[in-house]
Symmetry: C2
Subunit: 122 residues, 2 copies
DNA sequence: CTGATATATGAACATCTATTCAGATATTCA
DNA sequence: TGAATATCTGAATAGATGTTCATATATCAG
């Protein structure tokens, strides 16, 4: 990564300042990946359903309207990225939100989306 | 939407409770769309760069390393979904985070990603 | 063990998406 | 006006992604 940039129209100090506050590559990649997981309506519904407490796979399928196979695939992704954790009880697997951060993100976003929009901003 | 579900293994009261706390379809779709926008590393970098204040397109291209065309496409999406707002000054377009909610989401996620991970959770 | 149930998994496929490239638009300056 | 600069836009394309279907695994009841 060089300090020189190819373009000619830059405000150098603003660019330098922005580069310094940019999180590490790992944090950026991890954050993007987590946001991406939350960015699918099916997966998001799964997580929203889990805000009230743990549910098993077929419960989640019933709540969200997706197939159990699709739900299972989604949960695997979510678990691999620590968005949910799982617990087996007999034949059932119970899934829950992994931690409070996830729930905070969900609540913040849904609250934001529920607010009336301001026309005069662009 | 019927109250009856096709599967036989459900815990009916847990499912009913989860369905009641599920946000409206609009809120779910809007939230997913916003999360999806944040879920691309290129777009996420743009937003992170804007935490320190407004920048023009070629500044953003320089900070993130993406082409100006790609940046412009990304900004259009972000603006259409109210993640950023724009302001023209002469030949330059200055972009800024649309509101504090966006910044909160970014900060919460990057802070979460920066934390050390707990091995004993699954 | 055998059958039934709940979940997980792999492959295939159709769909979506981000980038690039070429060219259009808008603004400034001479 | 015409040249130069900054940004935008549409089309095309290569790659990623979510779902389905079929099948595998795991647990329990008898």
């Amino acid at each position: 990564m060089t300090d020189r940039c190819e373009v000619r129209c830059v405000h150098p100090q603003a660019v330098a300042a922005a580069q310094q506050t940019m999180p590490s590559e790992d944090v950026v990649a991890g954050s993007a990946e987590m946001f991406r997981l939350l960015g699918d309506p099916g997966r998001l519904r799964l997580l929203l359903a889990l805000r009230g407490g743990e549910l098993c796979v077929c419960d989640l399928a019933a709540v969200t309207g997706a197939s159990e196979s699709s739900v299972s695939h989604s949960l695997r992704l979510l678990r691999a990225n620590r968005a949910v954790r799982s617990r087996r009880e007999g034949r059932n697997m119970y899934y829950a939100l992994h931690d409070g951060h996830i729930e905070q993100l969900l609540d913040m976003m849904t609250a934001h989306m529920g607010e009336p929009r301001d026309h005069f901003s662009d």
